[in-house]
């Protein structure tokens, strides 16, 4: 029966595609392997149901397609069967939901030793900020944004002065150190998206959102924007580099603090206004 066979082939083909397709998730670079495990559990359960339902359907089409003289059975319901199917489905759902919720709990529970860093999105570029020697990020407000203060830091906040500000550069992270990534936007929604990190979160103007990760391997990773943010959404790129401790600190040494940057810009501005005299 051609129809039954094609239906069955759709199910088998899907499974084969799943096994042999060259397209699979990127090698993970953070502690969120739990998420990958949960996805795998979900694949097993849903894959089983998918094949079972379609194989049953294909069998019915094969076995009970119309022939001269065939007459269908008459059985309006079967309480017991329906009950067992519901319970079985409930068990399958619970087997996916339970690990999902456990991992979600980890996802929203930031470890106490995580360093806070900041990513700021604007149409269509990324800026980054790391805490200075005091280990704290200073306050910021979108109203403070000016040419010499693109991230809108609060000049009166002592914590802000030593913050490391990276504009148009790449973000470096230290291997093995948990970071809480604070996310901010000055204009529209953005989403800090690094496929290898698994974690991602929208950036919403007027709010600070976050996720946390611990990088587990060194490398250079693409940053993309995952929330539609206007015409050049697809071009909003940057890079994150995960370094060993030594390289990380070497890089950090070269970065400018907010105080250095704003005074440097102030000097440039003053020089310009005075005509270089």
């Amino acid at each position: 029966m051609a129809v039954a066979l094609i239906l069955l082939l759709v199910a088998i083909g899907s499974v084969l595609f799943h096994i042999y397709s060259p397209w699979w998730w990127t090698p993970i670079a953070t502690n969120w392997a739990y998420i990958d495990h949960t996805i795998n559990i979900t694949f097993w359960i849903t894959g089983f149901v998918f094949v079972a339902v379609i194989a049953f359907m294909a069998y019915c089409v094969f076995r009970f397609h119309h022939k001269e003289g065939r007459r269908a059975d008459y059985n309006p319901e079967n309480k017991r069967l329906e009950w067992w199917l519901s319970v079985g489905t409930g068990v399958g759902v619970a087997a996916m939901l339970a690990p999902g919720l456990v991992v979600w709990h980890q996802f929203v529970t930031v470890p106490a030793d995580a360093t806070e860093i900041e990513v700021m999105g604007q149409q269509w570029q990324w800026s980054f900020r790391l805490p200075g020697k005091d280990g704290k990020l200073g306050t910021s407000d979108v109203r403070n944004i000016a040419a010499d203060n693109p991230m809108g830091l609060n000049r009166d906040d002592a914590h802000a002065q030593d913050d490391v500000v990276i504009e148009n550069g790449d973000l470096h992270l230290q291997l093995g150190k948990p970071v809480k990534v604070l996310l901010r936007s000055v204009d529209v929604l953005h989403d800090f998206y690094v496929p290898e990190f698994r974690a991602k979160m929208d950036m919403v103007p007027g709010m600070v959102t976050y996720f946390w990760i611990t990088p587990i391997r060194t490398g250079t990773f693409d940053v993309l924007c995952a929330e539609l943010c206007g015409a050049a959404h697809y071009q909003m790129r940057s890079k994150v580099i995960v370094d060993e401790e030594r390289e990380y600190h070497a890089w950090l040494e070269q970065q400018k603090t907010f105080a250095e940057l704003s005074s440097a810009k102030a000097i440039v501005k003053a020089t310009y206004q005075s005509g270089g005299k």
């Binding site: 996805i39 979900t42 379609i54 309006p76 759902v93 496929p195 950036m203 007027g206 050049a232």
Partner: protein, 592 residues
């Protein structure tokens, strides 16, 4: 569920309220244009929805040309690409699927299936269509205004939707909101009609638990739509005010193109909550009519009662109710209160249970059936496969932490196209092949229908199944070009090209269907009144196509449920709902 015949039932006269007089058309204009007959309104709705749907189809071709062959087509730029995806999404979800299922199938089938002469409020029903048409025209006009249609994505998230970095910020977004507001006004008029008609105008004997599942699906979806659309309505009004008057419902302090804007104090998340409070029920507003219709297609063409009718009804109602408390699963990575994740993941996965029951009951209906593999049945089988596939990937996206890596990737695009694009459209097409004979009196061509089914079903599966794996890989959605990345291999670009070629093929194969619709209207085989030997009332009308008032002199009286197929002892393998127990011919010797 079996209706036990009892004495004296034939003595009950049809219940016709004498003082309700139908509006009778007196001219060509009131008969075919400003008609108050639900059947004419249904056809008007369907033709309008199909016309704007074809626009959405062409837009999808343009998108696929860009995605499959980036840089090849200079007439598509990044702004246009965003405008295409926005208009494609909005048209398909609202102006095509919602309008077709409720305005089209709802109008045609509800009065016929419940045994009414027409909708309860025919004038309001007519108005509903004309307001809908106006909404469609306003929407279509955005292609011709300065700046073009909005490119904010069909979700229209502020602040982006109304700021200058987004195409169509000028007229496009204003007209989009206006069109949505009109659509909701039009829908509300129609929707109240469907609900009241199902509740009040059922013929004698048509109890709620004897309704065909088609009516249950459309009825529940309509109740949901009446509750969900107001959220979109207020969101649209507020967004329009933010855009036109500079209010700040959804707009916080922000910088627009380097300048501090005058906005402040609004919340972008508020819009998302309102949008998805509508948007998630919307998924089921499209799905429930499809669930109902496909149940009737399967039962009729498998010559077998739908398995577990009562469970099917309760599953529809349960899904409808639950779908109002799952909306924030669209917002797991929106930055909302993180603890919401537990609640919305749980409710979302619970919905899988009644949904799975429906799937089981569809396939169990096939068990020991007498399966006629006619075109409507083929589409029903195609629906089951695509719906199961799309439903199961919903378990990934609904399970909060699994959604985190997958959200905003092509996995999401593949999922929702499978589950609320391909699957409901399978039902729409199957339903058209099924009811076309009743609407026109002629059969659609079978060979063309089978060709259409196989190309559409296998093609759509080839488009959307592999697309999930692009999303797993991390390919983001709504990207004009993928550009250079370290994680997207060149094979992924080849897959994109393949998907585009298949998409264009499937798209063009729909022309075969349109040809079939037109050709069969004149040349199709005459169908008679009940070509499928179905039990439900719409097949028992005295005339085909049904005349004005549907039932001739007397309303039908219903004696049984909608699924008396292959009843043991009966001579025929179906017993119409309006056939009195005594008139049922029994097989000789089997009479009790």
């Amino acid at each position: 569920m079996v209706d036990i015949p009892y004495e004296g039932i034939e003595g009950i006269p049809p219940a016709e309220v004498p003082d309700v007089e139908l509006y009778h058309p007196r001219s060509w204009w009131t008969r075919y244009v400003f008609s108050q007959d639900a059947k004419v309104i249904a056809i008007q709705y369907s033709l309008t929805a199909t016309a704007i749907g074809l626009v959405a189809l062409v837009l999808s071709w343009l998108m696929r040309l860009q995605l499959g062959f980036p840089g090849t087509f200079s007439f598509i730029d990044a702004n246009q690409y965003l405008q295409f995806i926005t208009m494609h999404g909005m048209i398909m979800v609202i102006y095509l699927l919602t309008a077709l299922f409720l305005g089209g199938f709802g109008n045609y089938l509800i009065p016929l299936m419940v045994g009414a002469r027409d909708m309860v409020f025919p004038y309001v029903n007519m108005l509903s269509y004309w307001v809908y048409l106006l909404a469609v025209l306003v929407l279509a006009s955005t292609f011709f205004v300065p700046g073009g249609p909005t490119g904010a994505g069909w979700t229209l998230y502020p602040p982006q939707a109304i700021l200058s970095g987004t195409p169509g910020q000028d007229w496009g977004i204003i007209l989009m909101m206006s069109s949505l507001i009109l659509f909701i006004i039009g829908f509300t008029m129609g929707g109240l009609n469907y609900v009241v008609t199902v509740l009040q105008a059922r013929t004698r004997g048509m109890t709620l638990m004897r309704l065909p599942l088609t009516v249950w699906g459309i009825f529940t979806a309509t109740v949901m739509a009446l509750l969900a659309f107001p959220a979109l309505f207020v969101a649209s009004v507020m967004l329009l005010l933010d855009r036109l008057l500079g209010t700040s419902f959804f707009m916080p302090s922000l910088v627009e193109m380097g300048q501090l804007s005058k906005h402040g104090g609004g919340s972008p998340l508020l819009f998302q909550h309102l949008f998805w409070f509508f948007g998630h029920p919307e998924v089921y507003i499209v799905a429930l009519p499809a669930f109902g219709i496909v149940s009737d297609l399967i039962s009729t063409h498998a010559r077998k009662n739908i398995f577990g009718y009562r469970m099917m009804v309760w599953a529809i109602v349960a899904i409808g109710a639950l779908s109002f408390i799952v909306w924030a699963h669209h917002m797991y990575v929106s930055g909302m209160f993180p603890q919401f994740g537990y609640f919305f993941a749980t409710t979302t996965l619970i919905i899988a249970i009644p949904t799975a029951i429906k799937v089981y009951n569809w396939v169990l209906t096939l068990w020991r059936g007498d399966i006629h593999l006619r075109v409507p049945m083929l589409f029903a089988l195609g629906f089951i496969i695509t719906f199961v596939n799309g439903g199961l990937t919903g378990l990934f996206l609904g399970n909060v932490v699994v959604d985190v890596p997958l959200s905003d990737t092509m996995f999401v695009v593949a999922h929702f196209h499978m589950v609320m694009g391909v699957a409901p459209i399978m039902v729409v097409l199957g339903a058209i092949y099924h009811w076309y004979p009743k609407v026109t009196g002629r059969m659609l061509n079978d060979a063309l229908g089978k060709f259409h089914f196989w190309v559409t079903f296998l093609g759509a599966y080839l488009i959307f199944f592999p697309m999930h794996y692009l999303g797993l890989l991390g390919v983001p959605r709504r990207y004009f070009e993928l550009g250079d990345t370290s994680f997207i291999p060149s094979s992924a670009h080849s897959l994109n090209a393949f998907i585009s070629v298949v998409a264009l093929t499937v798209g063009f194969s729909q022309m075969v269907f349109l040809f079939n619709l037109a050709w069969s209207l004149f040349k199709g085989e005459a169908s008679g009144g009940n070509p499928w030997r179905a039990t439900t009332l719409e097949w028992q009308t005295p005339e085909t196509p049904p005349g004005h008032g549907n039932w001739g002199k007397e309303l039908p009286v219903v004696y049984r449920w909608a699924y008396d197929y292959s009843v043991p002892g009966a001579a025929e393998d179906f017993i119409p709902q309006n056939q009195p127990p005594r008139a049922t011919q029994l097989v000789q010797g089997a009479a009790s």
